[in-house]
């Protein structure tokens, strides 16, 4: 729906990839489907399944990598619901609570949000997906039983910056955001997500103290407030960089890469204090008819094949959960595309359980500082 020249050329590239993978994918897919077929009669196919996805280049890459090949393989059309992840949540929860069929088959969700749904018990268990055995540890949600969610890739909240605003070289520390020159020229997420943990380190605190004592983080955030940061959501960062409103931001690398695709000069680093690493995943809400549940599971299973992951994550520029993926050319050795143990050492990962249990307080505290 939103072709632009760069995406178009990327799509052509993807299409050739798709072509070459169709053969492999089909055989791989068939074999997994074949296995289940041997044990049980294949349930009736629905005419379509609905996958919630983020719009723009996000849904384009999911379609190219997973949905199109799934349709080719099974004949089941895939419809993408572009409702935001946090806006679909109350709809799904209400549907389950009222015993209705949920409005979507599969939710592409942040692991934190998905964990809330899992704790609430509205997710189907996915432990029996055959392709899970080929995945890395990253696929398994931390702190939950079984697989109510399958993580499908990771991402980093980097410090993205405009090189022209940093004539003395790349920023090394989150504290560099306190430079008076940057007053009114920096941006954070409006709930502070991605920034709480590095702020804890930058404020002189320890990660082990999370969630017990986060005063250092709040002190640091209070200093950042003096810099009058803009606060927004994913698309805002891309827009603000493009329109010259900001010079630096704590954001997911994908947003900065999107602006770079549009010809804006941008770079990003993982500062010395570290950067937050988190994951997104797929899950299925409870309450679907038996046969639709089966095919929804097949979709997620398909999303875990190496071929699907390669194309999908090429579009997003993010590291996946099956071994042996090739990073996109512009991201080889990039700190936002961690692959080795060494890369992960600089990243901060906090279990999603701790996050969801404390998130609303962190959020409230951040808002209190920023809105004061």
């Amino acid at each position: 729906m939103m072709p632009n020249d760069k995406i178009l050329s990327a799509q052509i590239r993807r299409r050739t990839l798709l072509g070459s993978m169709a053969a492999v994918g089909a055989s791989a897919g068939l074999s997994t489907l074949g296995v289940s077929k041997a044990f049980a009669q294949e349930p009736e196919k629905p005419s379509e399944i609905i996958v919630r996805a983020w719009g723009g280049s996000w849904v384009d890459s999911l379609k190219a990598g997973v949905s199109d090949s799934f349709t080719k393989m099974t004949g089941i059309a895939v419809r993408h619901d572009l409702t935001e992840d946090n806006e679909i949540q109350p709809k799904v929860w209400a549907a389950v609570a009222q015993g209705r069929v949920p409005p979507i088959h599969i939710n592409w969700d942040t692991t934190t949000n998905a964990t809330k749904s899992a704790l609430r018990g509205v997710t189907e268990d996915l432990s029996d997906l055959p392709n899970l055995k080929n995945t890395t540890d990253l696929a398994k949600p931390v702190g939950l039983d079984g697989y109510p969610i399958v993580n499908t890739y990771g991402y980093v909240y980097v410090l993205a910056y405009r090189p022209s605003a940093f004539p003395n070289g790349a920023p090394k520390s989150w504290k560099d955001l306190l430079d008076p020159k940057l007053k009114g020229r920096i941006a954070l997420y409006n709930d502070g997500i991605g920034f709480h943990f590095p702020a804890q380190v930058a404020g002189g605190g320890k990660l082990e103290d999370i969630p017990g004592n986060m005063q250092p983080a709040w002190d640091f955030i209070a200093k950042i407030k003096e810099q009058q940061p803009l606060l927004g959501e994913d698309p805002d960062f891309t827009t603000w960089f493009q329109k010259g409103e900001i010079d630096a931001a704590c954001t997911i690398s994908t947003n900065a890469r999107e602006a770079r695709k549009n010809g804006i000069e941008l770079a990003w680093v993982v500062p010395e204090e570290g950067a937050k690493f988190d994951t997104d995943g797929l899950w299925i809400p409870k309450g679907l008819p038996e046969n639709e549940l089966y095919w929804a599971k097949q979709y997620i299973n398909h999303a875990l094949t190496k071929e699907a992951q390669q194309v999908w994550l090429d579009g997003l520029g993010l590291p996946g959960v099956v071994p042996g993926l090739t990073p996109p050319a512009d991201l080889v050795g990039d700190p936002s595309y961690p692959t080795t143990e060494e890369d992960f050492k600089h990243l901060i990962r906090i279990s999603s359980k701790v996050q969801v249990e404390n998130e609303s307080q962190w959020f409230a505290k951040f808002k209190e500082i920023m809105q004061g």
Binding site: P3, I50, D81, I104, P235
Partner: protein, 266 residues
């Protein structure tokens, strides 16, 4: 006369400022839709129709637009009788607890849209009606109903009780008095109100978001969702197509009934 000249100057100063405020973003978006680049800018980077080509391909947008039209029609059809009756009742009769009733009827404005959305999602969900279009039509009608009522009451000052009394004296029975005297008097209000209701329903996204699913999504919800990822010029192009459709509708209306009917004092 100097008096009337200073009056004109003051009025025009305000009106021109208001016109700039109303139209500036429209002009920018119009221009931006013809850009050859990939981001919305003004003036556009080179001229091209490529974003119009992009949206012409999208059949889901057309379907969503048709759904929006259906929703807006349902909303208006409900609003006209309900709002007109309520408006006349409030303005013509001495109603006990009028203020309380008015505060109650203003609930759609005092409840934040998110609250209304969540509430109606639960109510319609309980009824098993979600996923259809009529609940969305009703919902958009409810949240904007005060506009209809108030448009009618505002024009009810046209209503002269003497005229009705005169008609009654001449032996006109109640229904005739209603149809031939009351109704024509408030007609400008009804038309303004229903046009407003239609347009607002056509563009509503926050409450609809909670009531539609992927198969019944309306155009504003679809646009709202796309914007959440990134704003590209195709959204400007959609807006322009939307404006063009509105333009045609307004021109048609003008030919058929005459736009003056909205405001002409008798």
């Amino acid at each position: 006369m100097t008096g009337s000249r200073s009056k004109s100057i003051v009025i025009w100063a305000f009106v021109i400022t208001a016109l700039v405020m109303l139209s500036a973003p429209t002009v920018v978006v119009l221009g931006a839709s013809f850009t050859a680049g990939n981001i919305i800018t003004f003036p556009p980077e080179g001229l091209s129709l490529k974003w119009y080509g992009a949206i012409a391909q999208a059949s889901d947008l057309r379907q969503a637009f048709v759904r929006s039209l259906i929703v807006a029609t349902i909303c208006t059809l409900i609003a006209i009788p309900v709002g007109t009756l309520a408006g006349i009742a409030l303005s013509k009769y001495r109603v006990r607890f009028a203020r309380t009733i008015q505060i109650y009827l203003l609930l759609p404005f005092t409840i934040p849209l998110i609250g209304s959305g969540i509430g109606m999602m639960l109510v319609f969900g309980e009824m098993g009606a979600l996923g259809k279009l009529w609940p969305v039509g009703i919902a958009t009608c409810v949240i904007n109903l005060p506009f209809m009522i108030w448009a009618v009451t505002a024009s009810a000052s046209n209503l002269s009780p003497d005229l009705e009394l005169a008609a009654a004296n001449c032996g006109a029975p109640p229904l005739q008095r209603f149809l031939y005297i009351t109704l024509p008097a408030v007609l400008p209000g009804i038309i303004t109100g229903s046009l407003l209701m239609f347009i607002l329903a056509l563009n509503e996204f926050l409450v609809s978001l909670l009531l539609v699913d992927a198969r019944s999504v309306t155009l504003p919800v679809q646009i709202y969702n796309s914007i959440r990822s990134i704003i590209t010029p195709d959204l400007a192009a959609i807006s322009v197509v939307f404006i063009a459709c509105a333009g045609v509708a307004i021109a048609l209306l003008d030919r058929l009934v005459g736009l003056d009917i909205f405001l002409k004092s008798k």
